[in-house]
Symmetry: C2
Subunit: 191 residues, 2 copies
DNA sequence: TATGTTAATGAATTATGGTTCAGTGTTCAT
DNA sequence: ATGAACACTGAACCATAATTCATTAACATA
């Protein structure tokens, strides 16, 4: 059980943002779900945007850490690493489905908002995926006629939308099953 | 040259929505760019949302038409059809980059908003893509271990993000080049 | 030209909901 | 038990910008 207000607010906000979208989400509703007064939120967050920012940051940090860990491991093929990271994404979703929806729907937020810390984390993660793909190309595992950055964006988008389309009934599948499915789309496309 | 107010408003709104995002876009700015009074907009559209809705509808209708046309053609492989549709998407972007950006950034709008006509068109398009993939599986051109709906969402997401990552310098590539690149990601993934 | 009809305007109105803050409750050391 | 320090509250405030509408312009008809 969440026992501190900061996390309670984040959790309530995740639910409301996921259901209503950031702009239609009301602070009063978030407060209600968190079981606190509306004003209390402002003791923990500068404003509504800051809540969203923190949600993004936490999720992306998790992905970034995993990518960083993979980078350090030497005796693993790019394919194995991708499988690992795919697993981490599925884990993230299982830990909070609402957050997965927000990451998708408010894509424009982290994309356009030039919040230092957040965009650094996102950019870093993208770079790390790019490197991973580059390695795969060099190792002759992936196609040569590929721009790593394009591929990265294509993959991120694919993963996101796929998650969103499942969203609610995502939890009725096993983690292993989902990880496997996702991995195949990333690596093999339609063929 | 656009000669009627309705289209002038749509065009101005596309620019402003693309630059500011739907929520930050001001009706007064749209009116200014269209060269008309703010109140005039309300003679042509019920409200701000209705403008966005119409922009979405026009774009998706175009994709839907293409998909419908492809469905009717018999002597074409699923692969060839996918290549055609990919080309149509690139055409759509080239015809109006602002609109492409809006489609991406305001994804949450058409997804959450249950506007009858719009969601019908979008759903229809998704179904048509699913069928196309099903055909490909039956014809042994695509992997058998694939759920067409999953694949569809993965592809749409991939295309979206890939477009977004390029967005502004998209026009510096040739249509053929872009179509080709996109087609390869869809069909072959990383391998 | 006079008159009716329709289109357009933009200042004023209004709805919304994020944010503030004066007041209330809680905690805890003395 | 007291009161200082801090946490919390939610009604009131306020900024923003969508929408309205009384007024004016443009145009058509006779």
């Amino acid at each position: 059980m969440i026992d501190n207000k900061y996390d309670m607010i984040l959790d309530a906000a995740s639910q409301v943002f996921a259901r209503e979208g950031f702009h239609k989400a009301k602070i009063s509703k978030i407060a209600e779900i968190a079981g606190i007064g509306a004003g209390t939120i402002y003791l923990y967050f500068k404003n509504k945007e800051a809540i969203l920012e923190e949600i993004f940051l936490r999720s992306w940090s998790r992905i970034e850490s995993k990518l960083l860990a993979m980078k350090k491991i030497k005796n693993m093929t790019p394919l194995q690493k991708i499988a690992e990271i795919t697993g981490e994404i599925i884990e993230l979703i299982f830990s909070n489905v609402s957050v997965a929806k927000i990451l998708l729907y408010e894509y424009s937020f982290w994309n356009s908002n030039k919040k230092e810390k957040l965009s650094k984390t996102v950019e870093n993660s993208q770079k790390l995926i790019e490197e991973l793909i580059s390695d795969g190309i060099k190792a002759n595992i992936f196609r040569k006629d590929m721009n790593p950055k394009d591929a990265t964006m294509f993959i991120i988008g694919g993963v996101w939308f796929w998650i969103a389309s499942k969203s609610d009934d995502l939890l009725s599948y096993s983690k292993e099953e989902l990880t496997d499915t996702l991995f195949h789309y990333i690596v093999y496309g339609l063929k």
